[in-house]
């Protein structure tokens, strides 16, 4: 649509509408004019401006015509005109301004808004805004002459009232926008008049009169309704910023004009004029700072980032423009700025870093002072305020460090600052140590070995710290960032010294100081640090500490952490396994949860000195220190490798600890260290540094009383490494065995766990290829397609052989003898050689087995059980070397027999397992002994006990006799199978077990007995089929051929009795 460009044509076009409007001021006419106006080109409209405005203003002027619809239409038309044109005459501006204000205000009070519809209000406000924008530069400033003060004042208060009280957000925003225009702080995209400094000064003087009103009302808006929406708040902040920035501008106040006395001719109006004298400035600044404080506290943690962004702009603007006049507020403003340095919204951060770059150069003093006072109040704030507030305060704290940048080290040189800051951190980071579970949780040895399998994927559960003063994880991460920033910019020597001092000073601070140190070192290495763009001196990048400095600091921290007093903390109620008395309960045997001893039980001596609190605290301290070692490793990277000499041992020591938390922390720490030092896995870490570890282990084994943990370290090492460790480990094993020999009574339990770990490792490293398995050959006979003829032929042949018919077969056997003896000779020849070259793992195993023989008769059940396990592993490892195995079996037989026949049920069961393993490896060797020395006693005791248990009540299952029965029955079956016992023995076993098939026996005994029969049936299915059927035959059998006589079994046709069910089960 082309617009009318010629002013004359336009005039002709518009004239009828204008005339009509003057005559008949109706909504329709105004709208017609409005429509027509849109077809006029801007330039023409400018020429016709006065003409067009006249009818519109006329409508506004005539009071009786003031109908809302009409006024609104007029206001819209006016806005259109004003947006398109400029106002060149002061009269027009002045008149329109007052007319619009009049329309807005209530008839009785020019400072109060009239009760109009929202649409009308917003139309009028839009019109007013357009007017202020349309005013020419030379006339607009007339508006701010002292003479205009009353009118302007009314307008300002009207707009403030609208902005504050109005319900509609649009109206509020529009009113505030008008105010922005009035204070020359408009942020819209249109062109604005740029005032000269004189003009700005006069505007400032005028607005000074309204500053109290504006500042107060606007801060009410800002701090008022939280739900008013961010747009209004943002506008309000802009108004506040604009008005304060205008009135309190340093540039104006420094020039003499600011406090010119008003000329006399103003009369009473002169009293309204404010002289911006220094006293006035000071008192105003004081009042403003109160308001500012409110505003900042309300907005800096505001949910909407635009508000926070606006706050940054405000702080920035005021710091640039009014840092002199608003000296009192500088701290507040900086705080706001600094708080936003760590804002989560990147735009805010960006703007903030931009502004702090420009402004804060000179403010190091103020910043450090602020920092000091904040550090002072931090603990109080952390105790009292809510999480969000805490988070903000800490962000401010962090912001100071970031803004200060390298100046941090200067600030920290002041002892007062350092003291405050460190104390604040100490108090804030206080841990909550009341959780009882920490002490209770026990790690089971398996977790350790499980982890060795899949090192890469294994991520130990990282325990969460609980703090006294906060719960939010974000707060903790900010705190940690603070520590890192400190380390990044600060002097690492000074900080390390100071915090180590705190660490030593008191138990109360120890954990916190360690936490701070850990993160500080990481920060000093530049780890997990956002690049320091925000700092004052952004020229310096990278951490202040050199790698050398870092190393020195790390060494001193590490020495402190791993010193005996700080490392060997009591974490369990009991001292060691060895001190435990031999309780006859399974609870301890299964190594399950250990309860804190109740008052009824006699408390162990350590409990009197250390409460649960202390234990918890110790545990946490260890965890933190372990994390610390990981941090040091991360900070130093590969340079940490030489430090492994002293640090790896302590970490492994803790990895062998029973307390779950410590154990896990140590494992985590190990992972971190191995990663940081460039090892691909824990295994590599340990293998590469096994010499360091073994040195310490070997030395500490000689002073076991001071270093009781040495065997544990070996255990952890064994669990995590492979056979390449063996050559090195050999002499340490000698040391272990020697140490064990020297202290059988004292620490046998501890050593047993080492031996167990050792044998387990050996069994893993040198798996035995089992070629001989006991029952497999026999079980093959149970073929499905049973061939009667072949069976009889085989039977015939066997029978002939047994009667000596086929003697000639022996000749062929004789022929085979010479080569066999040749083989023996060959063996003899290489025999001595073989002896000297026995692989070292077998030598070790032999030695361990030797110790086991001694320890098997130890009075402590716990120990005996462990030793039996070790022995079983020894047997397994030796099982391929009969030359070594048989003497060993012979030596341990007497003690093992004792275990089998006269020991606690638990031990009996384990002993059975050992015997089975032995039987598998050298069944022939043992068969006679077992059948002669063990079986008779076992079977007789079973037979003797059978009637007792059959009659016993439910309490019987808690007796020792029952447990013994159960253990024997559970072990007997597999033993028979493995040892390949002779028929007589099997019969004896069968005889003894049969009573237990009765359904009157306790259920578990029946089950165990069934397992015995199942094993027996595997050994010799026919015999036991027959035996069972002789006693009880569930079905009749018809012969496959009529020539054969029918089968007569004595068990046939018997009535159902107590044995029936189990017999059926066996025969299935």
């Amino acid at each position: 649509m082309s617009q009318i460009n010629d002013p004359k044509v336009a005039f002709a076009y518009l004239r009828p509408a204008c005339v009509l409007l003057t005559k008949e001021p109706t909504v329709a006419n105004v709208e017609t004019l409005g429509e027509q106006l849109k077809e006029i080109h801007d330039a023409s409209l400018q020429q016709l401006q006065e003409y067009v405005l006249f009818p519109l203003r006329f409508v506004l002027k005539v009071p009786q015509l003031k109908k809302e619809k009409l006024v609104q239409a007029v206001a819209e038309a006016l806005s259109y005109v004003l947006e398109k044109t400029c106002v060149q005459s002061w009269d027009t501006l002045h008149d329109l301004f007052s007319e619009l204000c009049l329309c807005l205000c209530s008839p009785t009070d020019p400072g109060k808004p009239a009760d109009l519809s929202e649409e009308l209000k917003s139309a009028l406000l839009r019109c007013l805004d357009a007017l202020l924008h349309a005013a020419y530069g030379d006339i607009v400033f007339k508006l701010y002459e002292p003479i205009m003060l009353p009118g302007l004042g009314a307008a300002v208060s009207l707009l403030l009232a609208l902005g504050e009280k109005e319900k509609s957000r649009e109206v509020q925003a529009a009113a505030l926008r008008c105010l922005q225009s009035l204070i020359l702080h408009c942020d819209c995209t249109q062109e604005h008049v740029i005032p000269s400094s004189d003009e700005r000064c006069s505007v400032g003087s005028t607005m000074a009169s309204f500053l109290p009103g504006i500042a107060m009302a606007v801060s009410r808006i800002i701090t008022g309704n939280l739900r008013q929406g961010h747009a209004v708040t943002v506008r309000a902040i802009k108004v506040w910023c604009g008005s304060v920035g205008l009135v309190m501008e340093d540039a104006q106040l420094q020039s003499s004009k600011a406090c010119e006395t008003p000329s006399q001719e103003l009369g009473r109006i002169g009293q309204l004029v404010v002289q911006r004298a220094p006293e006035w400035v000071k008192s105003t600044a004081g009042k403003l700072s109160v308001l500012l404080k409110k505003i900042i506290s309300c907005t800096s943690a505001h949910r909407h980032w635009r508000v926070r962004l606006e706050m940054v702009e405000l702080a920035d603007h005021l710091l640039v423009a009014c840092s002199q006049s608003l000296r009192e507020c500088v701290g507040l403003l900086l705080e706001a700025l600094v708080g936003a340095v760590n804002d989560e919204e990147p735009k805010v951060r960006e703007s903030c870093s931009r502004s702090s770059d420009g402004t804060s150069q000179i403010l190091a003093d103020v910043l450090s002072e602020n920092l000091h006072s904040l550090a002072t109040s931090l603990p109080r704030l952390m105790r009292t305020s809510n999480d969000q507030k805490k988070l903000f305060v800490l962000k401010v704290f962090l912001g100071y460090f970031k803004v200060l940048g390298p100046l941090v080290s200067v600030v920290l040189n002041s002892a007062a600052h350092l003291e405050r800051i460190s104390k604040a951190l100490m108090q804030v980071l206080e841990l909550d140590v009341v959780d009882v579970r920490i002490v209770e949780e026990r790690s089971h040895g398996e977790s350790l070995e499980r982890s060795s399998g899949s090192v890469g994927s294994y991520a130990a559960h990282i325990p969460q710290k609980h703090f006294l003063y906060f719960t939010d994880e974000k707060i903790f991460s900010v705190l940690m960032e603070i520590c890192r920033t400190l380390g990044f910019y600060g002097n690492i020597y000074l900080l390390t010294d100071h915090f180590l001092d705190l660490y030593r000073q008191s138990l109360v601070y120890r954990k916190q100081a360690a936490m701070v140190l850990n993160e500080m070192v990481r920060g000093a290495a530049g780890l997990a640090m956002a690049t320091g763009a925000q700092c004052l001196d952004s020229g310096v990048q990278g951490p202040s500490a050199s790698q050398e400095d870092l190393k020195v600091a790390a060494v001193s921290i590490m020495e402190e952490y791993t010193s005996l007093t700080n490392w060997n903390l009591i974490t369990t109620c009991e001292e060691t396994d060895g001190d435990r008395q031999d309780h006859d309960t399974t609870a301890i045997a299964t190594n399950s949860l250990q309860l804190i001893p109740s008052s009824s039980a006699p408390p162990p001596p350590s409990m009197t000195t250390s409460t649960v609190h202390q234990l918890n605290s110790n545990i946490w301290q260890l965890c933190i220190q372990l994390e610390g070692l990981a941090c040091l490793a991360q900070a130093l990277g590969r340079d940490f490798r030489p430090l492994l000499m002293t640090s790896l041992y302590p970490v492994l020591e803790k990895a062998g600890e029973e307390t779950l938390l410590v154990n896990q922390a140590a494992l985590n720490s190990m992972m971190c260290i191995s990663q940081a030092c460039g090892y691909s896995s824990l295994k590599e870490l340990i293998n590469d540094n096994s010499d360091y570890l073994l040195n310490d282990i070997s030395l500490n084994l000689q002073r076991l009383s001071q270093h009781p943990q040495a065997p544990r370290v070996l255990t952890v090492m064994l669990a995590h490494s492979d056979s390449s460790l063996l050559p090195l480990i050999r002499d340490v094993v000698q040391d272990v065995l020697m140490a064990l020999d020297l202290s059988y009574n004292h620490s046998a339990a501890l050593f047993c766990s080492v031996l167990h770990a050792l044998m387990k490792a050996l069994a893993r490293w040198f798996p035995v290829s089992r070629c001989r398995t006991g029952g497999s050959a026999r079980s093959k006979t149970s073929t499905d397609d049973f061939n009667c003829r072949q069976f009889l032929l085989d039977y015939q042949k066997q029978k002939d052989l047994a009667e000596g018919v086929g003697i000639e077969v022996d000749d062929t056997e004789d022929l085979e003898v010479p080569p066999a003896s040749e083989g023996e000779d060959a063996e003899d020849i290489c025999g001595p050689d073989e002896k000297s070259e026995l692989p070292s793992h077998l030598i070790i195993t032999k030695e361990v087995a030797e110790r086991c023989v001694h320890l098997l008769s130890d009075p402590r059940l716990q120990l005996r059980l462990k030793v039996l396990e070790v022995l079983e592993l020894c047997v397994y490892v030796l099982s391929e070397r009969e030359n070594e195995l048989l003497p060993m079996a012979h030596r341990c037989w007497p003690v093992l027999r004792q275990r089998l026949t006269a020991d606690d049920p638990l031990a009996v069961l384990r002993a059975f397992r050992v015997l089975c393993t032995l039987g598998e490896a050298c069944g022939d060797f043992l068969r006679r002994r077992v059948s002669k020395e063990v079986l008779p006693r076992l079977t007789s005791s079973l037979t003797r006990q059978a009637p007792v248990s059959a009659k016993a009540g439910p309490v019987y299952t808690h007796t020792l006799a029952y447990k013994l029965q159960l253990a024997v029955l559970q072990g007997l079956g597999s033993l028979c199978q493995r040892l390949d016992l002779g028929e007589a023995d099997l019969d004896a076993v069968c005889e003894a077990c049969l009573p237990y098939l009765s359904c009157r026996q306790p259920v578990r005994l029946q089950e165990a007995c069934l397992s015995v029969f199942q094993h027996l049936i595997q050994v010799d299915p026919d015999t036991f089929w027959f035996t069972l059927n002789e006693l009880h035959c569930p079905c009749s059998y018809t012969p496959p051929h009529p020539d054969l006589p029918p089968i007569q079994l004595s068990g046939m046709g018997r009535p159902r009795d107590e044995y029936s069910d189990n017999f059926y089960f066996c025969l299935q």
């Binding site: 030489p642 000499m645 010499d691 360091y692 073994l694 040195n695 070997s698 030395l699 000689q702 002073r703 050559p727 090195l728 002499d731 000698q734 020697m738």
Partner: protein, 328 residues
Amino acid sequence: MSLPAPHPIYTLRGAGGALNTLHFRCHGEDPHLLFSGSGKGSIHIWNLNSRRAEKVVEAHSGSSVTWVSTLQSTDTLISQGRDMQVCLWDLNEGRSELLESVWTGSVGFCQCSLLETSPTNYLLAFAAQQTEEIKIIELPSKNPVCTLTPKAKVGMVMCIKLWKTNSGLGPLLLAGYEDGSLLLWDVTQRAKLSQVRAHPEPVMCLTFDPRRLRGISGSSEKKLSSWTLDSQNNIQLQDDVTLVNPGVSQLCIREDGRILASAGWDDRVRIFSWKTLRPLAVLQYHTDMVLSVAFSDHQDPRQRLLAAGSKDQRISLWSIYNDGAGKG
């Protein structure tokens, strides 16, 4: 006053054989090193900072290495093996190249003795092919200087020590023989200066303190015998020290002349005051005969370590009596 028994500060393991000889080199900027010669023929060069073998030189084709030393001036290592060779090795810039080798012809266990006469020249004394014969040659030119053979029958050469006097006389040589005799030789005159029967058993080791003109020798019996040289260069027997268990493999005096260490066949290292020969400490760690002891030549007296090498294939490092002037 009895302090708790000290413990080694570190043990070096992995030598794979009995440790016949040890030698420190701790001067200069380089990482401080300890050389060890093993019964399996390998020379381990241990870095004392990382406490690991930096390099292993397979020196004498599997024959036992009986003695190692280094030259002050250059990065040269000298080793003697039971393959009757003395070898010079260049260790510059991480190399280990064979420079020279000298055939000794001795089948005994006598360790060589080295005397640096100037930065480029040095004398090497070694037991030669004849059992009683000692040869001295100049290196690196390999010119024979002299051959010393005692007239009396004293048996095989067991140990020798070459040193230079302050009195302007040429280098002197102390030698211990199989029958327990000690002989003092003047190398330039090729003449025996003095002879004394110090032990009833073979002299296993001797060491000499040129500043005090005082020496001590050990044997396979329970006694250490100390002696001095008077102004006429006569060996004068002095006090005996009686040990608990017989047999000493090596004796070593610390550079500051305060303490003496003995490597005992009873698995122990014993420390004596060198002035009074009072026993000061028994260092117990090894599980087999201690074959060698050595003191470090570190510039800082506080960091002077004692190393002991044993038949149990470990080297133990000790930090003893080196916390300043108060003790020793």
